[in-house]
Structure formats: C-alpha cells, structure tokens
C-alpha cells in the first residue's frame, strides 16, 4: 500500500492488523507520535488525517491508502521554523516529561482550526472551550494550565 505522511508518499507492505500508529512508528520510523494506552483513551497518538485529529491507535493503516496524514514531525516549516503551537508550548513550558506533547500539539492545532471554521469563530477560544476541546489528551504530569495558556495565546492571535 502507499501511505502519504507529511507530504511524502511511502510504499509499505503491511498486515491488515497494523494500526496507523504502528505503521508510523515501526515502519516509517516516525517516533514523534507516541503509543500511550494504545486503546484510544490517552490521546498521545493523535495525528491529523485529512486535516482532522484522530487517535492513530484506533484506526488501521490500510484504511488510509488515499489519505493525507500529518504527524508532529510534519507541523514545522521545511525551513525549520516551528509551528506557532509548537513555539507557544515552548514559551509556556507546556510540558514536563514530554511524552504526551506530540499528541497535545497535534490536537491543539486541530482544535484551533476547528474553532476557526466553526460557528463561534468570531469569538476568542475560551479557557472552558480549550479544556473541553483538549479532553481527549491526558497529561499525567499535570501540565494542563500551561497547555491551556499556550493554546489560548495562539487562539487569541488567530
């Protein structure tokens, strides 16, 4: 099968049972996307498929032959400039151990885009909306206040 990840098409031979997460990590070496619970509960494996955030652990790679997948490795500009959400996470120290961070960042990028396209796009993204919108991403270090602050900063600039 061919799998398009971060603008590059890869040819892969996979068993049907290989999840998108395992294809990324074990077959393409893209280990930025993390395997936390592997059961759709923690959000560490969040990637963007056709611009929408999904849990890559709960979907099969073979189902995404015609899709565009973006992982945390594909968010920065090709010249190395970080994505605004990545810079904001650095500025706000929005992590401790960092394990959930790639999923948090991918999820936040999608949340900001959902807000931009949604019915409340004229209003700034509230703290409550960020907390609810990020509820699928757990952080066991408890870096939530700084994660919310980072997203809020990017949201207010949009």
């Amino acid at each position: 099968m061919s799998l398009k990840v971060n603008q590059t098409v890869h040819e892969l031979t996979l068993e049907p049972r290989v999840t998108l997460l395992d294809a990324l990590r074990e077959h393409l070496g893209l280990i930025g996307t993390k395997k936390g619970c592997d059961r759709g509960q923690c959000g560490a494996c969040t990637v963007l498929v056709n611009g929408r955030r999904v849990n890559s652990c709960l979907t099969l790679a073979i189902m995404h032959a015609n899709d565009e997948v973006v992982t945390v490795e594909g968010l920065a500009h090709t010249d190395g400039e970080l994505h605004p959400v990545q810079s904001a996470f650095l500025r706000h120290d929005a992590f401790q151990c960092g394990f959930c961070t790639p999923g948090q960042i991918c999820s936040a990028v999608a949340l900001l885009e959902e807000h931009r396209r949604g019915p409340e796009s004229a209003d700034p993204l509230t703290e409550g909306a960020i907390r609810e919108g990020m509820s699928g991403n757990l952080c066991r270090c408890g870096a939530y206040p700084n994660i919310v602050a980072a997203i809020r900063e990017v949201g207010s600039r949009a």
Partner: protein, 332 residues
C-alpha cells in the same frame, strides 16, 4: 490482535456480498471494534471496510421538515451540521457530550448505535464470567463491582448498560433506523431496534446477520425550543454517563403539549419514560410535575450493591433536565 483479512467495499451491494462470508464484519470508524479486537473480545476473520461508501455519509433534509443522517456520517460532522445544530440541538448536545474530539472525528452514526457495552466484565477477557461475551458463563457484574451498571430492565443474565449518548437523544427525537440486506430495506423505530438482555444478552439489538444500517431518519422536530441533554459522570468530560437524560418539551402559553424523557446509563438500551407525556400534557411546566415524571422514570428499578445511588441520581437528573428544557431558548 487476532489476524484477519481485509477488503474494501466499493458500494452497498458489494459490502453486503462481502459481509456474507463466514467471520466477516463491517468496519467504519473502528473506534470501538479495534479496541475490542485488541482486547480479544472481538475476533473477526475478515473486516469489510465501508468507509468509502460516501453516499452513506450524507446528511440531508427530508420532505416535511425531517432530516436523514447517513450511517457513515461521523459524530463530529453530525454535531456540527448547521441543520442539526439549529433544529435538533438535543442531538448535537448529546453527540458533543460523548467521547473526545479525536474519537468523534472517526466514530460514525451506525457504529455509535452498534457499539458494545463498556461493562468491565465484558471488556476484560481476564474475567471468566460474562454471558454477553461467553453465553452461559454467568454474569461477573451481579456479584462484582457494579457501580456503573443497569438499574432498569436487567436480569440475572446481564446488567450491562448501553453506552451511547447519541442514541438516547435519537430515541427521544423519535428516530427511525433504516436497515438493508441484499433482499431489501426495512425501517423500524430506533427505540425498538435495541433490546433488553433477557436470556440472550449476547444479542444487543435486532440487526440481522448480513444486515447493514444505512441511515437514521428524524421527523420534523417539535422540540427545538425546549430540549436538554444532561449527562452526569465522574469527571467533567470524556467519560461515560452514570446517568444521562434527554428531555424534550413542546410548550404553548406555558402549558405542556407533549414531552419526551429518555434515560441513558441505566439499562441495556436507551430507556424511554412514556409516562412523561401522559403526566405532563396539559400541565404547567414546573418542578412539581417534573418530580412526578422522575418517580415514574425509576419505577421498578432494581439497583445493585454499588449503584443504589443511581435511583436518586436519575430522579434528580430528570427534574434538572426537564427544568433546563423548560427554560431553554432556541439554540442559535
């Protein structure tokens, strides 16, 4: 995970043909099925990918003001569809109270209806006894940790609850589900699609072997001005309901014309309270009458050792949801 073969269906007829093979099962969003397969609870030999049947992902108006939601419409697309938000805010609320944004982006209407219970004794194959997973083996929950389990409609064979929020709202909105086999289509009220465990708790609903859900139809909504979905759970977001209530009222000049109450998290299926309509019709929409509905809602309840709290919780949730619905403004 048990290995399996994979085939992608190009159209509905092809999907129905492929799923007629032994051990075959459909996969769409996959958020529940793959979770069950990882745990060894589901072990299909073939998966039939229906995600490319894009005709089934449409949401459109029906003549007469109703709406048709295709079985493959994702939970997020349905919740954010302008027609749904304007005319069926109850459904949008219920959808957005379920799972996480990532899961809602994958989970579909059909899959949400067909999702399995999250009873721990069903979900964890380390437990020997589960009549739903292994018919005849007994029920681990009856004598086990049954805090999240059924208080209504259960029995000695199974006290699992149906976990869907969306389905609770759909039943309150008088949804009709369309099912199709190679021989033709049939339509039944969603409330009758689900079933109680009885002596065959391994069967969640009336979907026949080889049958596919194609759509859910909602009649023109009489409840958009006065509806509310209340979900009570252990944390503020991203948790299954301990108790949920879909409340809908049709009110004219302060007098209730009609009412719907459906409970979630309390039974093997969304639990309608038909007495809501008979008790409230012709009455003022006030707490005194809402309390009568609450009493009716839990009549016959049989709580378990760890979930006696659900009876009072359900009653209070009914009153709260009805009060919210009565005072609700049309969602804009």
């Amino acid at each position: 995970m048990h290995n399996f073969s994979y085939a992608r269906a190009a159209d509905i007829d092809g999907a129905l043909r492929l799923v007629s093979q032994p051990g075959a099962q459909f996969i769409a969003g996959g958020t529940n099925l793959l979770d069950l397969m990882k745990g060894g609870v589901a072990n299909p030999d073939r998966l039939i990918d229906i995600t490319r049947l894009t005709a089934l992902a449409q949401i459109h108006e029906l003549p007469g003001g109703g709406i048709r939601i295709g079985a493959l419409a994702t939970n997020s697309d349905t919740a954010n569809q302008p027609l749904i938000r304007q005319r069926y805010p109850l459904l949008a609320q219920a959808l957005l109270s379920g799972a996480s944004p990532q899961l809602r982006n994958m989970a579909t209407l059909g899959g949400n209806i067909l999702q399995r219970t999250r009873c721990g004794y069903f979900y964890d194959t380390g437990f020997d006894r589960c009549n739903k997973r292994q018919p005849g083996s007994g029920c681990g929950a009856l004598q086990g940790f049954n805090r999240s389990h059924a208080i209504l409609g259960g029995g000695e064979s199974c006290i699992a609850v149906h976990p869907s929020d969306m389905s609770v709202a759909l039943v309150a909105l008088d949804a009709v589900v369309e099912l199709r086999t190679a021989r033709g289509a049939r339509r039944i009220p969603l409330a009758e699609f689900f079933r109680l465990p009885g002596d065959t708790p391994q069967i969640d609903n009336h979907l026949a072997r080889g049958e596919i859900i194609t759509a859910v139809d909602l009649p023109a909504n009489r409840w958009q001005e006065h509806s509310a979905y209340l979900k009570v759970r252990d944390r503020a977001s991203y948790a299954f309901a301990l108790v949920s209530v879909a409340a809908a009222l049709e009110i004219q000049d302060g007098i209730v014309q009609d009412a719907r109450i459906v409970l979630g998290g309390v039974a093997h299926k969304p639990w309608p309270v038909p007495e809501a309509a008979t008790l409230l019709r012709g009455q003022r929409a006030d707490a005194e009458h809402f309390r009568e509905v609450a009493e009716a809602a839990v009549r016959g309840a049989v709580p378990q050792k760890y979930n006696t709290f659900k009876v009072e919780l359900a009653k209070r949730a009914v009153v709260r949801a009805l009060s919210t619905a009565a005072s609700a403004e049309e969602m804009t």
